[in-house]
């Protein structure tokens, strides 16, 4: 019975390939003959998974083949990433992630001998962390919370040191120039960490906006600030003030999410995907709606332009690991230079 579904999808795919012919002119168009796997190295339902599952059907339609999202979570995303790198470089195995992660797996020693050079990258959205507290808590603006964080009573829920929330908390600590007494409490992912703040188990959370919008909308969390240099506007919520209002020197680097295709496949693979990206994803109403609804920044770009956009966050994350003593390989080996301590 399942064949029927596959067949009907294949039929739709064939229809969708027709406009493709007009699309690629300079390069030979790549026409995949079997399903493409996108390995999401995080569990289903997380921020990477969410955005990948919005993008995948658009790509499937444009490429005329099934695009299967495979979740391979574990060890901060390094298991799935390694699997994607070890797969045959034929253009049929992709991965998806916050691109700064892929650039720093070698720095932390989680995956050996890899850098951002191993991929062509296709960015879809930028995500920003938001500092929120439980709706019943006494803190009404970020300055109060920051003062309290210097003491010892505050607990902050994140998805771990390597997660966006953990990096955000570390960045706040560094910008505050002093020991933070606040304790980081690690959860399995962004969603459970946000839940813990909403239920009052922890005082605050520093996870991504996309993971918090539901709880903020429902009035269970109070958003205090967004780690960006401009206010965050999400439908149905008051604008969230930027952290630069409270800490003017806070270093801001947008965290880009997207799809990464390991290098080594025929050139037309990358050219075709780039053309689809610029034509379809960059104009996708689904992705725009997702970004607007969840508080992400709609930021599609592909190829060299994408790498250029992502470089600041890659550098920031790689160097933060050096500062915190987590680096086992010097980032300069991968062409990332950090300011001297």
């Amino acid at each position: 019975m399942n064949n029927k579904v596959t067949a009907s999808i294949a039929a739709l795919g064939l229809l969708a390939t027709a406009p493709m012919a007009a699309l690629a002119d300079a390069h030979a168009t790549w026409q995949p003959d079997r399903p493409i796997n996108i390995i999401v190295p995080w569990s289903a339902g997380g921020s990477t998974d969410q955005v990948t599952r919005v993008v995948a059907p658009i790509l499937a339609e444009a490429l005329g083949t099934d695009v299967v999202v495979v979740n391979q979570p574990g060890a901060s995303g390094s298991i799935g990433t390694k699997a994607a790198l070890d797969a045959p470089r034929d253009g049929y195995t992709w991965t998806a992630n916050a691109v700064a992660n892929n650039a720093t797996y070698a720095v932390t020693g989680l995956v050996e001998n890899t850098s951002i050079e191993d991929y062509e990258i296709y960015l879809s959205v930028a995500n920003v962390p938001v500092v929120s507290v439980n709706a019943d808590s006494e803190y009404t603006d970020f300055a109060q919370l920051l003062e309290a964080m210097k003491g010892s009573g505050v607990t902050i829920g994140t998805a771990g040191v390597n997660s966006s929330g953990g990096m955000a908390m570390a960045a706040i600590g560094e910008a505050a120039e002093g020991e933070l007494g606040a304790r980081m409490v690690t959860y399995d992912g962004g969603a459970p960490a946000v839940m813990a703040a909403a239920s009052g188990e922890v005082v605050a959370t520093t996870q991504l906006a996309v993971e918090q919008t539901e709880m903020i909308r429902a009035g269970r969390l109070r958003a205090l600030t967004v780690l960006s240099d401009q206010a965050l506007e999400i439908e149905g919520i008051d604008a969230i003030p930027p952290i630069t209002d409270f800490m003017p020197d806070f270093p801001v680097a947008s965290d880009y999410f997207g799809i990464l295709i390991p290098t080594g496949a025929p050139d037309e693979v990358y050219a075709t995907v780039e053309a689809i990206w610029n034509d379809k994803i960059a104009n996708s109403p689904e992705l725009k709606a997702y970004a607007k609804d969840r508080g992400a920044v709609f930021a599609p770009s592909a190829g060299a332009a994408a790498l250029e956009k992502a470089m600041p966050v890659i550098e920031a994350e790689a160097c933060a690991r050096v500062t915190r003593g987590e680096a086992v390989v010097d980032p300069s080996e991968f062409g990332i230079t950090c300011a001297a301590e």
Partner: protein, 153 residues
């Protein structure tokens, strides 16, 4: 030979105590991650240490309470088990990944039938075994390849 005797339990108890001690030691010497300034009661070695102690306590009770079973041993064929185990192991560990999945499965299933279906005359057994092997490989492979979109090894 039977593995549910009092002697087997005592040997297991000693092995478990050794494992528990290794676990305790591994947990104790495990990196405390001071450099990352983690909370001292959240060190990664905490639960391994507790499990090490726990398994040692259980093993002591196991050693003290070891009794021989009352019922007679069931009729068993260790030879069949070993042959089946080794042939299956060969298939899973060597053939899959080195041979195409269809070929590996067909050889394995056919081999299994030929070795164990002793009720049939040899020639007939070989023919039926091969046919069944090829059929089984084709059906299982196609099921996973086309219905579940798995890339076969």
């Amino acid at each position: 030979m039977r593995l549910d005797s009092a002697r087997a339990d005592r040997i297991t108890a000693v092995v478990l105590i050794a494992m528990g001690l290794v676990m305790l030691w591994a947990g104790y010497t495990m990196d405390r991650l001071e450099i990352r300034r983690i909370h001292p009661s959240s060190i990664p070695g905490l639960v391994p240490m507790m499990l090490g102690v726990g398994i040692c306590i259980c093993a002591v009770f196991l050693f003290l309470g070891a009794r021989d079973p009352d019922d007679p041993p069931p009729a068993a064929s260790w030879r069949n088990m070993l042959i089946a185990g080794v042939w299956s192991g060969l298939f899973a560990l060597l053939m899959v990944g080195n041979l195409p999945f269809y070929a590996a499965t067909a050889i394995y299933v056919a081999g299994f039938v030929i070795i164990f279906d002793t009720g049939l005359p040899p020639v007939k057994r070989a023919v039926i075994g091969c046919v069944f092997g090829i059929l089984a490989a084709g059906i299982i492979g196609a099921l996973f390849r086309y219905a579940f979109l798995v890339r076969l090894p």
